[in-house]
Subunit: 353 residues, 4 copies
């Protein structure tokens, strides 16, 4: 480690998640960014794309992806690539001892057959799937310490899971009728312009999308099934709404026991998340709203119970680029290297924003 700092690289550094990683790592006291790759912008200063970073990260330039360069210059590599890319080069990095935190879906699922079903490719490294740690610290903190390969959750999966973990773990809800209604901001679609993200079309929307086959369903079901010991299926529908950042999961669930009241559900949350550095429980007439975690790594969670009909709504609100992507990846990195988990991350959200 040069100058006592961990040397990190970012593969796919020109997108929004790459930019957010660069933003966080630019002021992280234990880390030095040594490589940032981009096929499209190789050779150019990162500020050509991420002009908001002007004044930071010295004269860092984008380079082409080179395993040799990454091996030489990095202790750890974040991969922020489309699905199906990291699976092909991550193994080489691991072999030469470089740790990998993958922000793509390529190592999230344990069962290789699920990749054929949800992602339409045969996974080349089923052994790595077993070894990869699903990078949700609230579920896998101990495994993350010292991990060599981390598979960071999708943003919608992060929100869905954080809303459901306490109630599932503590067997409060009917696992056969779990509905997750997700709302997301436009940055979730990445940096590539399409008609769907064209401002006149994207502003003011309340637009359902991938209403039956959203890919994050696979990892949500995997983690909830592992947690409950039963096969859990979720009815998940994401909706694009009028915001740039943010993801809210509203999990609509039915209570096993009609006498369960809001206090009981709150206790389940408090027990589960009381010591979590980045989960805050919202109460007192308010519910979580991603608006109030913008720019931070916090997940705000909350609940409402309608005893009249024995159901609850469980909420988790995150900034999709932070706790839903780059922030969570840095949190994982802190655990991997044994740093304080909050290092470089523990700052308040922006408000109003």
């Amino acid at each position: 480690m040069a100058s006592g700092r961990v040397r990190v690289g970012i593969v796919g550094a020109s997108g929004y998640t790459g930019g957010e990683l660069l933003r966080l790592l630019a002021t992280h006291p234990k880390v030095e960014v040594t490589v940032a790759t981009s096929r499209e912008y190789a050779g150019q200063p990162i500020t050509n794309v991420h002009f908001h970073l002007k004044g930071f990260l010295g004269n860092l330039k984008f380079s082409q992806l080179s395993i040799d360069q990454l091996s030489e210059r990095c202790d750890l590599v974040f991969t922020s690539t489309p699905s199906g890319v990291a699976k092909d080069f991550a193994p080489e990095l691991l072999e030469v001892g470089v740790r990998v935190i993958d922000l793509s879906p390529d190592f999230r699922l344990k069962d290789p057959s699920q990749y054929e079903r949800w992602y339409e490719f045969a996974h080349p490294s089923p052994d790595l799937l077993e070894r990869a740690v699903y990078g949700l610290p609230e579920l896998h903190r101990e495994e993350l310490r010292g991990a060599r390969l981390v598979a960071c959750p999708g943003c919608n999966a992060t929100a869905a899971l954080l809303s459901l973990i306490p109630a599932v773990e503590q067997k409060l809800i009917d696992l056969d009728h779990v509905v997750v209604d997700v709302k997301v901001g436009s940055s979730e679609a990445g940096m590539r312009p399409t008609l769907g993200t064209h401002h006149p079309e994207r502003a003011n929307v309340m637009r359902p999308y991938e209403a039956t086959g959203h890919r994050h369903v696979a990892e949500v079901e995997q983690e909830l099934s592992a947690l409950s010991g039963k096969t859990v299926r979720v009815a998940l529908v994401p909706h694009a709404v009028g915001a740039v950042r943010g993801a809210l999961a509203t999990s609509h669930v039915w209570l096993v026991d009609r006498s369960t009241d809001e206090l009981a559900v709150w206790r389940a949350f408090a027990r589960r998340y009381g010591h979590e550095p980045f989960v805050r429980i919202v109460r007192g007439g308010r519910y979580p709203d991603p608006k109030y975690v913008i720019g931070s790594n916090f997940a705000d969670v909350g609940m409402a119970v309608e005893q009249r009909i024995g159901r609850a709504a469980l909420f988790a609100a995150i900034d999709n680029l932070m706790k839903g992507a780059a922030g969570q990846a840095v949190q994982c990195m802190n655990l991997v290297f044994g740093f304080d988990e909050r290092e470089g991350l523990y700052a308040p959200p922006l408000r109003p924003a």
Copy 2:
């Protein structure tokens, strides 16, 4: 009727729904607005508040609510008042032969005891509750013709019902696990500024509210129960999202028969709504989005079926001030007076908006 036109009054004409009624009636060929009341602005030209209407409606001024004046000058009165107000003066109007289309909740529920439960008042005219017609033409068209008292649905109720009617009526879904997740624009909160509607706080939100006791639940359950012949309970959670106009109901339901596919659900919709002038079925990879009905009286409906787990998502998208309020009220008025149901209403939405 002066000049062969129906004379209409609007009580509570200074709010958003009042303004929208005025906008629609200003160009309605069979109607003349003779009275517009407002406690706060009585004596002032309506364009002091509704400055967008400059150039329309002559020199119409707001006046104080006067039953005598309304009786003399109106054949029909729209009441756009907060809950608990119309119940007290509507009976007098009806008595002197003035028809009433109430846009408040005061006559929507058939069972008087429900007013105590949901609205915290004892209803003074239970007999009128029986005679009032619930103003959703898609459910009560025949009763609306010639009706003397119409109770227009709430905006969220309109969206929820339109998403669910075909599947409930045709017994496709499990009535014990009906979830309705609603997203709404900021105009739904009316014209009174609060911290919750303050732009810095309201912009970019994904904010759940009234997660367990939203009042529109009462009328949704009433109409679905009547339709199905069973007691239906719905788990409804509204969310404020980043838009001015629009309401989307996403109804998450479980299919009675796992073999039901999307085509079967579409057929149920087509059968039910095929001849409806203001309901459009959206298919072909798109789902309904309120953005694309802005400014119009259309409800766009649609569906997605996930056979993997036997569930469906049923959508209805409306402009909350149009099909969710003023537009629907005018549609009812057209039916009441035997006009063409589309009169003054049948125009395309604004796009992009």
Copy 3:
């Protein structure tokens, strides 16, 4: 004319302006849309692109541009094409007696050399430039009656001109220091997605663009020069701001006579615009805001005078797709055919929106 209606075609009907023309013409009582061309979507129903128009215009389909077809089936053709396209085919239409209302810049400038300077092409039909009528009814109403070729103004030019005409015409201001600061919504950029219009990048902007060479400057200077009899130059800077529709021109001007007060400027506006059907003067503590003309063909104009330093701010607010494009084109068409100028256009704006 089939069925007594004027038969109109739209060339370039798949963009936002094309869609807006279709929306307006769908309910225009004197017109029938017979042709709608689109290179990209020829053969498809117009509702594939303009799905908000579902239920209108019968089964109209996009077709390829064909002069023969347009000649046969149209009395008038609107051309809504990028700069440099209409100049090549409009002459053929005119020759066979089809009237043309061009919404592109191809016939706006009288001096052919200006096309080389601002648009980088040599104009093939300088004679037509002379005959074309600049389609701002507030300046050229009489010439528009019966016109065969109309060149509709650009949206920013429309706003700039409407803010300045009374003061220029009545010689109130210093013509050597005219500043026009324009703010526009995202729909002005058309329907083609780019990084600049990508929602995450376009939302919340206050972004200057084309700060020194905006092409609408040419037509603004042409019309103001003609109006004043002097060579007028304007310092115009447009800014993209956070809205879908709308354009506001704030013209910052210095008064020739320091004793000119706000009443005097108002009188100039009132004299000039008092009888204009689509210009409304805003006073009484408010200034024009495009928000309050959305969906309508109105231009709201207003003024503020600071006698302390002898300057004024003159405002014009329009919906860029209406008075800035399609609405104004229909207003011109009404004049061309001798219809009531308000026909199919005179409806209130949407509020709130």
Copy 4:
């Protein structure tokens, strides 16, 4: 100083600027917040209002304003109060040796008579006006070191000044025709809901306001006059536009020498701002946009020169709550105490946001 940290208080801590100060100071390594006053919320935890700060600042509660308490517990007090409040209690604090950084306008103007003209009060402490340092480090850095009373600029004034300083100082522009067109986000209006900030009315606006008497004009003219040695008057019009944060000044100016080109203006900027830690010059086809400084203390500045007519547009983009208020106040505090000027402030903006 307890624990070696400077003890600071915030008077008026419950508004947006107060919240932003708390956010910044929560992670500032050299400072401890000991007092936060609020008339309305005294006795309540600050997180009741600033719920985004949950997890920070211990159990800090709002207290009533008490000079005794502030004297005892603070080395420095930030005053974030409406105009006319700080002038009455700041003198007492200064007398007992507490430093004051005032974010209100009460000490910005040097000439007491200007308070009567622009703020409608007679200033009680003309002597303090002389001693107060105008808190724009780019103009008054040396005076700020060790200062006892700092008067932080208004947000629009900060943007206006930063756009104009290099050109005024280097005598490039005609000082008799300076136009400043400002665009601002909704957070500039503070936390108090009004009809003008009600989301349905405030979303999508392009709304001029205070078009002739904006109070920040006074300080802009004062500073530019001091800088140029001549009486400078500016024609400033602010516009509310569709964003929560951000302020852009577009200064439209006429060049003294027609041969001045963009490079010459850029050189003036580079000379003036080259060593400024929080001013970044934007070039290369882009202009400054507040969107890209959101959440940071940066001012992005830029320029466009149209030699055709001898004019320039000079831009400055800031986050109104940061460089326009709390960030700049902390920058001033760093100078006052001799800390590194960047301490607790030097972090990249959020993008996209």
